[in-house]
Symmetry: C2
Subunit: 510 residues, 2 copies
């Protein structure tokens, strides 16, 4: 047997190589970037990720479940930061041991490559970018990113773990596969990564809430939900937090309104095009600088932030002072990070079929890129690997049978998590601060504490790795409808008879 | 002002050129094919189309409403052909003057080019294929299909009426437009065009139902609905009918099952792969040839049908004898047509945005390709032209404003007709022969006769060119739900009090 070609040594490709190696299937893994274990690089993707039960189950299957014990930071709930007033923790579950784990994308990826590298059956080839796939012959074409040299490779079969912009999927779409169903949909919001440093690095006043090296509660996912936009922060192992601001690209509250300096100025409701014209007539110097204390920020004249203009910096600071007053005090690099870091897109990709006969299979983001709001992108990709591996148990190396059955089993579930992730964006942004929603979460936590059989929608998706995503979605939605209705008509969940509530939920059909 | 570039001299592009010429806006229309007025060619698309009120309104606006008086064949309803028993006409409307028109795609397209050609402001360039569009510079690139010469052209703006496979849309998708939303979805069914000749050309026994030159009722759209598949036939001006068979590509009842000769053999339920293996063991010669009389068909040994093998021809004839016993008698060229004509895909394309600032706009199929089951593809494209023209009245040549407003107005409506068309596939295939559905259509016809304010969903979409598609969809769906429920519990619509029914329908909110 010739080797299986894996395209992409990201999270999915590296893990899959280990799965295959453990069965004695040799793989050649081609990766467009250099070896991240040797080179400093940005993956161009989020810095940390939430590893949960579906991902852990797949890691366990290759003996890597101890990874998160060493490198992960447990997060037991969402810690809600209102504009004013005290924070509130909404636990992810009412049960012990049900939590999610903040892990470093780079750290985990390196560990996965290291693990695969222990097996002689796994061979990694770096700086080899896949630039095409021939759906007829099954040959993949690679270009070396250092030498420019091109080569064509044909293996036993190809597994494309080359991400949301997959070159293999592109070839399938460009007439490689007849009647290829495809969709790409983008949110109107983008994201920007920012940072809260660890205590030892922080020059400002350390708040009372600091916990060891962490300026904020360490074991939580922090959320600043502001309806039209939100910021979240995940703890890193080194004591820092990676913050992600989710904000519309255009409109009244947007990256554009910050970048053109109009955010928060009364006139901004007239639209940004008009504003730009206005701002030429009414120079910004007339405004009272005391309203926008910026002493704790690096100046926009910092050479690394040369792209930022004064009005934009002022708008950014206004935006943060008004919306995130507690967080802004902990973000000394806000201005620099904001103007230096790219603004990312948030898109969902769906397609079908995923395979070209037995010649190739799309797996992970290449088949189903999703938005990050359920923390399931990596977990879904790891689950992909585990399920594909299980089908090799059943069918051996009959690739076409394995790929077809895998696709049929899996498609309905990756569609479900794609839709759940988009819905959760609106839930996190709009409802996390809504009193009915908060009561519903309290009720769910209480149910989970008192009834071992009760699992909230979030728990079904996140902690029940034995239940497919599509079932979690159906069951979770039915439950939510009932519970939200109950919580609308009460002022406190103590008014509810818990046995009655549980009976209602148990009667649901899904 | 430099000229407006229109890409594609199909139905939409030719009509748009006339709309523009009437306002004195000069256009250069680039068409990949030759001049269809001088060259015999197949458009690679359906031979006839159903022109209805939305299309007619747009033709009227440029003074072409007399076209369908000369060249169209009115169709007053669906004529349902059961496998056995008599046919039944389901009128499209209970009102006089509400009917659709079968027109020749080629004939109408030539008339549209001729009309535009009357204006010096319209210039057509044939054999010029658009091979790319630069979303930065606004330049379009064309390759002459005869000389191979390439040139780059920049006009006042570009309107891409280059169809479902639009080169301009491709450039927008390939990073030309940020966060370009796109989807393409295909039905599992394909289509094949076949033919019923006019009486004067027919060598067989002319049936009693013949009407002048027409072997079937002339003024109807004929439907042979068979649940998993169906055939339709539209009358042509010359007395022939163009039949379209809609059938799954794969599976028990499929193009594949006919082409590999397995259709209708008991064993075919075991799947076609298995069948091929079996058929080598059990040669087909043993079967009784009397079961499959093929004397009225051209032989498969006809050189033009050389691709067809005997088992495939036999399967085709079995399929037609069993499912379309009345039609097959009128289709002497069935075997030749079936194996010579291509099998077409049925897909829906949606995307957004439709414009690149003021530099380009997608219009017609390039923006919203739909399946043909509501007979609205061309009508929607003509409505596109009329609405775009109206916005030039409001905004002049402020292209970005015109294009943006056009897209915002229009997108919700083309999404609606796209979804309606897919739904109508299932309605035509599955429900047209269902007794509850037939009663509901009878009830709707009666309502339309007795209540001038009542319009069925079909009438709202087809005859109410003053109502947007999205409103027709909402209103039609609400009505349908009520009427189907009423028709479930009765055996004849005479049991219903019509005033009560009408009151129920009028109470609906949409």
């Amino acid at each position: 047997m010739s080797k299986v070609i894996i395209i992409g040594a990201g999270l999915a490709g590296s893990l899959l190589s280990t799965f295959f190696a453990k069965r004695g299937i040799a793989t050649d893994v081609y990766e467009a970037r250099g070896d991240m274990r040797k080179e400093e690089m940005s993956a161009g993707r989020s810095i940390n990720l939430a590893l949960s039960d579906r991902g852990i189950r797949a890691l366990s299957a290759v003996g890597m479940d101890d990874y998160m014990l060493k490198e992960a930071v447990p997060m037991y709930g969402r810690l809600i930061h209102p504009v004013a007033g005290s924070t509130k923790l909404l636990p992810y579950s009412g049960r012990e041991g049900e939590y999610i784990n903040s892990v470093s994308r780079g750290g985990l990826n390196e560990a996965l490559i290291d693990e695969a590298d222990k097996y002689p059956a796994s061979t990694f080839h770096f700086h080899e970018r896949c630039v095409g796939f021939d759906c007829e012959s099954g040959e993949a074409r690679f270009r070396n990113t250092e030498t420019g040299e091109e080569k064509t490779i044909k293996g036993e079969t190809v597994i494309a773990t080359d991400g949301a912009g997959s070159a293999v999927r592109q070839s399938m779409m460009n007439r490689g596969v007849e009647r290829f169903n495809y969709s790409q949909h983008f949110l109107k919001h983008g994201y920007k990564e920012l940072r809260i440093p660890p205590v030892s690095e922080f020059k400002g006043e350390v708040p009372e809430t600091a916990n060891g090296e962490f300026l904020l509660e360490k074991n939580a996912l922090h959320i600043w939900a502001r309806h039209q936009y939100m910021m979240i922060a995940l703890p890193n192992f080194d004591g820092s937090f990676t913050c992600t601001l989710f904000l519309a690209f255009e409109g009244k509250d947007s990256f554009e309104a910050i970048e053109n300096g109009t955010w928060g100025l009364e006139k901004s409701s007239r639209g940004s095009a008009q504003m730009n014209a206005d701002s030429e007539k009414e120079p910004r110097e007339n405004e009272d600088p005391k309203e926008f204390p910026s002493s704790s920020f690096r100046s926009a004249s910092d050479p690394r932030s040369s792209a930022a203009k004064i009005p934009a910096v002022e708008a950014l600071i206004r935006f943060y002072e008004v919306n995130f007053p507690d967080a802004v005090l902990l973000m000394p690099d806000l201005v620099e990070d904001f103007f230096d870091n790219p603004t990312g897109d948030l898109g969902t990709v769906k397609c079908f079929p995923w395979n070209v006969g037995g010649k190739a299979l799309l797996l992970g983001d290449s088949a189903h890129a999703i938005v990050p709001f359920y923390g399931q992108g990596m977990n879904a990709a790891f689950e992909d690997c585990r399920i594909l591996d299980g089908l090799i148990d059943s069918h051996g190396l009959e690739w076409e049978t394995v790929f077809t059955e895998y696709s049929e089993l899996r498609k309905v579930n990756t569609d479900a998590i794609a839709d759940l992730a988009v819905e959760n964006f609106y839930e996190m942004r709009d409802h996390v601060a809504d009193p009915v929603f908060v009561r519903k979460r309290d009720l769910e936590t209480k149910l989970e504490r008192e009834y071992p059989d009760y699992f909230s929608k979030y728990s079904l998706v996140t902690f029940r790795e034995d239940i497919p995503y599509s079932e979690a979605q159906r069951r979770g939605n039915s439950q939510n409808e009932v519970l939200m209705k109950l919580c609308e008509d009460i002022s406190d969940i103590s008014e509810l008879d818990m046995d009655e509530v549980m009976a209602k939920v148990s009667d649901l059909e899904y």
